[in-house]
Every structure is written in structure tokens, then in C-alpha cells.
């Protein structure tokens, strides 16, 4: 679908700039996976994605508040980034913030370390930006396709929020937009983390579920602090940078970076991209991928997400820590964390219709 029209060019340009600023957060994520800064991008995803999964978020929240000290180095430059960001788009930000202010404010109040908040701002505005654009151009058709896929995933019981599927780019979906209203609920829990001072002790009222949950996590983490460091490492991938070259070619700039992040051969990823998008292309001198046809970052991201579900995440434990090896012309995916091993489908491009001029 070539939904790219000159109409959207201004917003596109804007987004391009933003994407560059945005990219730095996931990079920071690699440096220190437990910092709230990177997780805030998908933390909010998870919240939006599966609201009823309180524990995971609470867990993270707790962790964030615990780790408040060590990650002080990062927020500084991130704040700077943020400032740059704001100065770049002074009104753009304000205009786009609507109801999302509410969860952000709650973040401010709830997190013991204020570290998460500076990056939440750009992330959220980024989200909004994306969804805004999407709202403008997205027809119900596209949404229906997503719905369809989602149902499919449900049918296959793949739709785990821990899945990368929800992780790497779900924040661009409009689901979380709708569900963000529940976000404060999830965030509301971890206030007053210390055990022993439960509020229901002093009053007559019954304890509520969030309070009990929080109490549970407090005691859990108090008894085994290893939980705070070992788990909760989110799998983040930088959003694809798509530039336009001329009128009918797109450049996927950070394909090498993304492949490295997924631990996959670029050839395999590229093959999948081409087969899935029904197009062709080449890799240019700078290691960027030149794709024939007009593609939006969102579209490439969708395809990448499908790739991750199919070829990166372990189907057993949902861990992205897998290796893809080829044996006797068959690809096998072995999981590093649970040791499972399975064969994956070969990439086939299927029927390609004749488009354009026929060669004589």
C-alpha cells in the first residue's frame, strides 16, 4: 500500500528528525538494561498493551525505585536531549500532548527516582506523534488487518505481552492509546513501597488488591533481591529509519544495527523483508538497504515485528536470546535461555505478479 503521498511530506520530515533523537534511548538501553530510561518506552507499552498484567509493571516499578541510585549518570544527558528535543519542536510537543499527560504525571509522583520522567516525555510525545500520523492516514482497512493478525496470534496463543511483539514497537499501536487510561491504575500501586506501614492497618477499611500486590512484591524482593537484577531486561530494538531516495525507492538506514540487535544475519532479514513486502532491492555501500517501492517506517516495523515473532523469539519461553543455524538447507532456531530447538520455515517469496513493463 503506497500510502505515502506528498501531502504528508511535512510531517514526515518532522518525524525523521525525531526518529534520530528517539533512537538514542534504545541505545542507552543496551548500555544499562535496568535503567528506567529505556524501559519507559516499552514500559508504557506493556502497560498499554496488557493492562491486567499488573505484576510485571509493578515489578519493574519496584525495580526502578530500587535502582534509583546507579542510573543517575544517564538521565542528565537525556534531559539535555529532551531539551534539545523541545527546542526543536516547541509547539509540536505541546500540541500533541493530550490526555497522555495524566500517566506521565503519575510516573513523576510514583517513581522514587525521577529518572524515568525525562525520557517518558519524548517517548510519549513520540507515541502520540506516530499515532497522530496514523490517525490521519490510517484507514480502517489497515486497522482491520492488525485486528486480524491479532486474532490470528490469539489463535496461536502467541500473543504474550512479554513477547517482543509487544515490546519493540507496540508502542506505536493505537491500542495503548485507548488503554492508557488504565495506566494510572497500574502505576498507582507502588506508592509507599515499604512493608509494615500498610495503610489498612491504621484504618478500618479492607485492603485492596493493588495494596496486597504491592505488599507481595515488597516482601518478595526483600527476601530475594536477585530478582531485581536478573529479570526484567526488556528487549528493545531501535525503530527502523526509513528515508526516501527519489520517488520510488526507500532506504532502510539502520538495518545492520537492527540485525545486530536481533543476532541475525542481515541477509536473512533482508530476504524476509523482500519476500514479505513483495519487492526487491539492494544493499548500498554504507550498509543501508535500498528497497524498491515506497515504505513507511511503520510498515517496515510491522514486517520486522513479524520477523521477530517468527525467527527470533523462542516459541517455548518467548526469549529473544536465540541462535539461527543452518543445517542441511534447513534453518534451526535454538534458544539460549531454555535450550529448546526447532526448525523454522524457509523464507519463500511466493507468487510475484508481473508489475511494470515486460522485458522483450
Amino acid at each position: 500500500m503506497a500510502s505515502e503521498e506528498p501531502l504528508f511530506d511535512p510531517s514526515l520530515k518532522k518525524r525523521k528528525k525525531k526518529a534520530v533523537a528517539f533512537i538514542e534511548d534504545p541505545l542507552g538501553a543496551e548500555a544499562d538494561p535496568t535503567t528506567p530510561a529505556p524501559t519507559s518506552i516499552d514500559n508504557h507499552t506493556t502497560n498499554g498493551d496488557a493492562v491486567d498484567l499488573g505484576p510485571t509493571t509493578l515489578h519493574e516499578q519496584f525495580k526502578q525505585s530500587q535502582n534509583g541510585g546507579p542510573e543517575n549518570g544517564q538521565p542528565v544527558d537525556e534531559v539535555k536531549e529532551d531539551d534539545d528535543f523541545k527546542s526543536m519542536f516547541p509547539e509540536g510537543l505541546k500540541k500533541k500532548k493530550k490526555k497522555k499527560d495524566i500517566p506521565m504525571d503519575l510516573d513523576l509522583g510514583d517513581d522514587g527516582s525521577g529518572a524515568a520522567t525525562p525520557t517518558t516525555a519524548p517517548a510519549v510525545s513520540e507515541d502520540l506523534d506516530f499515532s497522530d500520523i496514523k490517525k490521519k492516514k490510517k484507514s480502517t482497512k489497515k486497522k482491520a488487518m492488525e485486528d486480524f493478525e491479532k486474532e490470528l496470534n490469539d489463535a496461536k496463543a502467541k500473543d504474550d505481552p512479554e513477547d517482543i511483539d509487544g515490546d519493540d514497537g507496540e508502542h506505536l499501536n493505537d491500542i495503548d492509546e485507548a488503554d492508557l487510561g488504565d495506566d494510572p491504575f497500574a502505576h498507582g500501586a507502588p506508592t509507599g513501597v515499604d512493608a509494615g506501614t500498610e495503610p489498612w492497618l491504621t484504618s478500618d477499611r479492607d485492603y485492596t488488591y493493588p495494596e496486597l500486590l504491592q505488599r507481595f512484591y515488597a516482601s518478595l524482593h526483600a527476601s530475594n533481591p536477585s530478582l531485581l537484577t536478573s529479570t526484567g531486561k526488556r528487549y528493545t530494538i531501535a525503530p527502523p529509519q526509513i528515508l526516501r531516495e527519489g520517488n520510488k525507492r526507500s532506504i532502510f538506514a539502520n538495518v545492520a544495527d537492527i540485525c545486530k540487535r536481533m543476532h541475525r544475519q542481515p541477509e536473512h532479514v533482508i530476504q524476509f523483508l523482500f519476500a514479505e513486502m513483495g519487492t526487491t532491492g539492494s544493499v548500498d555501500g554504507a550498509g543501508r538497504l535500498v528497497i524498491k517501492g515506497r515504505f513507511q517506517p511503520k510498515q517496515v516495523e510491522n514486517v520486522l515485528r513479524r520477523y521477530i515473532v517468527e525467527y527470533v523469539t523462542c516459541k517455548t519461553c518467548k526469549s529473544p536470546d536465540t541462535l539461527l543455524t543452518k543445517e542441511n538447507r534447513i534453518f534451526f532456531m535454538s534458544c539460549e535461555s531454555c535450550g529448546s530447538r526447532r526448525s523454522v520455515n524457509a523464507i519463500k517469496s511466493g507468487f510475484q505478479a508481473q508489475v511494470g513493463r515486460r522485458k522483450q
Partner: protein
């Protein structure tokens, strides 16, 4: 002597294909593939490949064309067999149409961006 109770259900038995219930998993035979291809400008083509034998592609094409108000054609491919090709992005419509006609949803694969 055999314990009757234990023979009733083998917990370690292969629970069958999670994918489709057909013999050859992973091959493209048992999937309906709906693909999209970009043409010039914002025009696109939608192709439907791998239609089961019990459906008449000609009649299906006619129904598609009428339902989606688009043109289309039936292409004979030496590898893929008969492929329905429609003008425009009809992927979701095709998928919905086919599921309403009783084709199980997990045999339909929606490709594209």
C-alpha cells in the same frame, strides 16, 4: 495385566500440529497466502495463492470482483498453480470474506506490510 486407566490418555503423545493439522507443516501447500505488491504510485495488487482444491477459483474471483468492486484476474503460474490477482489492497477484505465462507482463519496467511 494392564492398567486400564493409563492407556486412556498418553500424556506424551504428539499433540499434533499446532499449525494446521495437515501433514506437511511448514510447506506452503496448506496455507492460503494473501500478498500485496506495490505498483506505480499508490496502486497495489493483491494476490491470493494456495486456494484449496475444493474451491473454484473462477467463481471465487467473480465473487471477489463483485464484492470488492475491483477488477481482477486469474493467473496461471507454473509453480504456484492458479493465483487470484486483484487490483488494490484487498487483503483484509479477502481474509474476512474467506473466513465468512468457512475457511479456518489459521490457514490464512496475511503477508505484506
Amino acid at each position: 495385566m494392564s492398567v486400564q486407566n493409563l492407556t486412556a490418555f498418553d500424556p506424551f503423545a504428539d499433540e499434533g500440529d499446532p499449525l494446521g493439522g495437515n501433514q506437511d507443516v511448514g510447506s506452503q501447500q496448506n496455507y492460503l497466502h494473501i500478498r500485496i505488491q506495490q505498483r506505480n504510485g499508490r496502486k497495489t495488487l493483491t494476490t491470493l495463492q494456495g486456494l484449496p482444491k475444493e474451491y473454484d477459483p473462477k467463481k471465487l474471483l467473480k465473487a471477489f470482483k463483485k464484492e470488492f468492486a475491483c477488477n481482477g484476474t486469474l493467473v496461471d503460474d507454473e509453480e504456484m498453480g492458479q493465483v487470484i490477482q486483484l487490483q488494490g489492497d484487498q487483503r483484509v477484505k479477502i481474509a474476512n470474506f474467506l473466513t465468512e465462507e468457512g475457511i479456518p482463519k489459521n490457514t490464512i496467511k496475511l503477508h505484506g506490510f
